[in-house]
Symmetry: C2
Amino acid sequence: MVQIGFLGGTGIEARGLALRFAAAGCKIILGSRTLERARHAAETYNVILGKEMIEGLSNTEMCRAAEIVFLTVPFALAIEAIDNCRSELDARHVLVDVTVPLMFSAGHAEYQKQDAESNSENIAQHLPENVPLVAAFKTIPTAVLADLSAPLDCDVFVCGDSESAKQKVMAAISMIPSLRPLDAGPLRMARTLERMTVLAAELNHRYKKKGARFRMIGI
Amino acid sequence: MVQIGFLGGTGIEARGLALRFAAAGCKIILGSRTLERARHAAETYNVILGKEMIEGLSNTEMCRAAEIVFLTVPFALAIEAIDNCRSELDARHVLVDVTVPLMFSAGHAEYQKQDAESNSENIAQHLPENVPLVAAFKTIPTAVLADLSAPLDCDVFVCGDSESAKQKVMAAISMIPSLRPLDAGPLRMARTLERMTVLAAELNHRYKKKGARFRMIGI
């Protein structure tokens, strides 16, 4: 089975994804800049799971062991996180960008325009050329992912310019129950996906909810 | 009951909306630059409905009679259509923009960036100041709307800067069965809604469907 790692694996962005993949039976490696923090998070999550599915390593060690690497840092730290692991990332990997460039002000989310038209395209410009990038999970709230008792019951939009990388990520996602991966086309579709999170945040704010997410009808 | 009119009421954009509102019991006025075309469309739709719910008038006569006016012209003609009715539009009206600035090339939709950040905001800049603008139905395929035998089974995102205008439009929408109006916030949310149609078009293309539309989970 494919080995799934998390670059920046101790934060809230990674928590729900690591738990969901581990609960589905995947072996998970949490990466962190400090080994101790990675090990601590792994232990905590294994207690929640009731089984030893998650290991903690340094980010660079995680990159050596994992094939699919989720980039789970706050959006503004994405380039720096990649730079710190640049020598470890190569064509064996698929990097999965889940970042969304939002800033919150009084409950309202504002989209933060990057140099490129989306944060995924921004990241792609800074990656080693042979590392395929896939965007996914941009529209699924971390709080819902992390609550294992809540069925997800929604779609996850997956986009990227490498068809084989996208298929690999979609196959992994399809292991998670009540979550349907949909092929959303080329990487530039991240322009739409990132902005959809602005809509979900606004709906959460107006309807006093926390878990707004999308499901396609007619597909 | 509120009177609903269509500015550019003889095209495919108006067809499904007029039929759905009329089937729900609303009196509808189709506007057109030529009275004859408006009357012909109204007759055709009344035959489909099996009852006389729809009337055809010139665009200017329609504006005099209707309170909620749907702007149902291709996106590139929106400003011209408004200019032609400028003297008839005032604070009695709510204008509802359903346009999406897309161009299709080999089945793929490309977003057409306007002077403003969305076509709705572009239109707002050209409207008489006292006419409130609401954006709605941007993400619902015209083909699905026009097929009265198909349940819609999805959400319609409604945004605008006038709360009272938005509430009026949402109240009208709530008459249509299996369609839930959601308050998506200020008019600038059209930036997201218009781009969501790019995603729906891509999904239709990849999954060989025609009716991709959105439903929120968790709201």
